[in-house]
């Protein structure tokens, strides 16, 4: 059974990392967005493997369902076809690569591997908290304040996003009904007649 789980874990991690690399490397912005969605799926699968069921489904619902669609919309609204000019990367992109490699190889891996984590054996089957019920109660009890702050944050962010992105249409085209149109035309004729 352990071997099976290890195989699945290796598969999922290759999916996640492979997709992440592709997100960074591909030229076409749309393709990188699609690879991003693939990596979100991989991360969702990893959560399932870690028995965080509600989180996996929330990940799929929020990231794959909403945020990636938002990113795709943004790309399409700003993707002018003549986006070919200029290279996709900074000239000195290798510097960024060096920094991130250094960060990974020198700092993170030694700390992680060297550490001897005190893995607590799984206490017992039923107390394994995976479900949404415990999370709901936690939100309403210990973490009520962060929950409310998160709610306010979302509200502020959304209204802010709308205000920023709202294109003030100079003259909004109202759909006049026939009666209004007739009235409008009569009015125009009157003030035309007055001049």
């Amino acid at each position: 059974m352990e071997l099976l789980i290890q195989i699945i874990f290796v598969l999922i991690s290759t999916l996640i990392l492979g997709a992440a690399v592709m997100v960074v490397r591909t030229r076409n912005v749309i393709h990188s967005a699609l690879w991003l969605i693939a990596s979100f799926f991989g991360i969702g699968a990893l959560y399932l493997l870690l028995e965080a069921e509600f989180l996996a489904i929330a990940q799929v619902l929020i990231y794959v369902g909403a945020i990636s669609v938002l990113i795709l919309f943004a790309i399409m609204l700003t993707h002018n076809v003549t986006s070919g000019e200029g290279h996709k990367f900074y000239q000195r992109w290798w510097l960024a690569l060096l920094v991130s490699l250094m960060l990974f190889a020198v700092i993170l891996v030694p700390t992680l591997v060297g550490q001897d984590w005190t893995i607590t054996a799984r206490p017992s089957e039923e107390s394994a908290i995976a479900g949404a019920v415990e999370m709901g109660t936690a939100f309403m009890r210990e973490y009520l304040l962060p929950f409310e702050i998160a709610a306010v944050l979302l509200l502020v962010a959304l209204t802010g996003a709308i205000v920023i992105a709202y294109e003030e249409r100079a003259q909004r085209r109202r759909i006049l009904t026939l009666a209004q149109e007739l009235a409008l035309r009569k009015q125009q004729q009157q003030n035309h007649a007055e001049e």
């Binding site: 393709h31 619902l61 369902g65 669609v69 919309f73 009904t177 009666a179």
Partner: protein, 446 residues
């Protein structure tokens, strides 16, 4: 499913199969069943729709291929298989190929969570309902990919409209389903259905009520308003009239499906019809008691289950058959309602559609959540000792409390509905001006 297989293999045939083999067999049977039943449902649904919409328009509908036109979907299917699959040269080959898969695959996932009868479910996730809607939002990504990959501005526009509509109508769908989750304290679909047994009065165990499996949520005002909002959202999610703007023939050629032909087009078609079926199924499960119906509980009491392993498996089969019959009858009734609405109503413009969604349906669902919380509060909570005067309402879960809650929430919901309709009239027009307002050409219909 697993316990039935376990019962058959171990007790009946006596060979003590290992645990994982039983799970493997039962799951593989479930998966093959789903992959067999889903396309069949789709075939029958296309036939059912064409006959029903034909009768509504005073004509016969397909009756040439096979007796009464039964094999018409088979003919359509063969046509779809044999049609040449044209891919536009400037299209993004890989994404063009992947798009139908990304649209059709989630629909198959959603079947995993649907219970067809008592004990007849592929998997019982304890967040089943949320899983259902999470996976359904993935197909929106598939639509976007299809629209973009076809390198055709009509397809792109159609895709954007479809995705905007699906995402914006997912909000009311989820909120109106949240009401049901509040009523049943769990998101697992199986427990939602089990909570709808009894007779007309849900969530209140009043002695002497025979368990006829009719305690559906629709019979409470909270459920009624939830059903109305959810069904409107389901119509929009499944792109049925009056919300089928994305592939409305008159406006944008075939929406995101313009550049597809042959098998890929059939996949889109399959995904759309199965999504409609599933949305009807979820409507039935959450508001009309899924496979609940008179006689099920009696049969199930004698069948093999955890509660009484000594039961006779024959009753499993019988209860399953009756349950499936109830479930499918109700689901196809709602599909008929979808077709009925398609036969009766014109199509909404995109701005009307969005306005209707955000200004009418979502406020109603929020009000519905408020009234649901009142409903739960009144029925279930013990009374704080110093609020003695409320003790007149009787014990928690008592009939008196149910009556009071029923009346209160009914008044609240009806008031919300009429308020919403009155608010949504454009502010600068009084009733008389609305009368003078021309809706259809030169004649005002009041």
């Amino acid at each position: 499913m697993a316990d039935v297989i376990n019962h058959v293999l171990n007790t009946m045939l006596g060979l003590n199969a290992p645990e994982w083999l039983i799970i493997f067999i039962s799951n593989s049977i479930a998966v093959t069943l789903i992959f067999a039943i889903a396309p069949l449902q789709m075939l029958f649904m296309t036939y059912f729709e064409r006959r029903a919409i034909a009768r509504m328009q005073d004509r016969l509908g397909p009756n040439r291929v096979g007796p009464k036109g039964i094999f018409q979907p088979v003919a359509d299917g063969v046509k779809m298989f044999t049609k040449e699959d044209i891919v536009p040269t400037a299209a993004d080959k890989m994404v063009h190929l992947l798009a139908p898969c990304v649209v059709a695959a989630p629909v198959m996932f959603m079947f995993a969570v649907i219970p067809w009868g008592p004990g007849m479910y592929a998997v019982d996730l304890d967040t089943g309902l949320l899983f259902f809607f999470a996976i359904s939002s993935v197909s929106a990504v598939g639509l976007m990919m299809a629209g973009w990959a076809s390198y055709n501005k009509f397809a792109l526009l159609g895709a954007m409209r479809a995705v905007a509509q699906m995402v914006s109508y997912e909000v009311p769908a989820l909120i109106s389903i949240a009401v049901i989750v509040m009523l049943t304290n769990s998101m697992s679909i199986v427990s939602i259905i089990e909570a709808q047994s009894g007779l007309f009065i849900s969530q209140v165990d009043v002695a002497g009520i025979p368990d006829l499996g009719l305690g559906w949520f629709i019979f409470s005002p909270v459920g009624l308003l939830g059903f109305i909002c959810f069904f409107i959202a389901a119509l929009a999610e499944g792109e049925r009239t009056p919300f089928d703007i994305p592939e409305a023939d008159s406006e944008i050629v075939a929406g995101y499906m313009t550049e597809y032909s042959g098998m890929k087009f059939a996949l889109f078609f399959l995904a759309q019809y199965l999504l409609n079926f599933l949305l009807c199924a979820i409507t039935v499960i959450t508001f009309f008691g899924g496979w609940q119906g008179p006689g099920i509980s009696w049969l199930w009491s004698m069948a093999v289950s955890e509660a009484n392993p000594a039961g006779n498996p024959i009753f499993n089969v019988l209860a399953g058959i009756l349950g499936t019959f109830y479930f499918l009858a109700k689901t196809y009734f709602f599909f008929f309602v979808m077709i009925w609405i398609r036969g009766a109503f014109p199509r909404l413009r995109v701005d009307q559609l969005m306005g209707f969604g955000w200004k009418f349906v979502i406020p109603l669902t929020i009000v519905n959540i408020f009234s649901a919380s009142l409903w739960i509060g009144w029925i279930r909570w013990e009374l704080n000792p110093d609020l003695a005067f409320l003790s007149a309402l009787g014990e928690p879960y008592s009939f008196a409390r149910w009556g009071f809650a029923f009346v209160a929430t009914l008044v609240m919901n009806v008031a919300a509905y009429t308020l919403m309709t009155r608010i949504n009239r454009s502010p600068d027009e009084t009733i008389d001006e609305l009368v003078a307002d021309q809706v259809f050409g030169a004649v005002t219909l009041r």
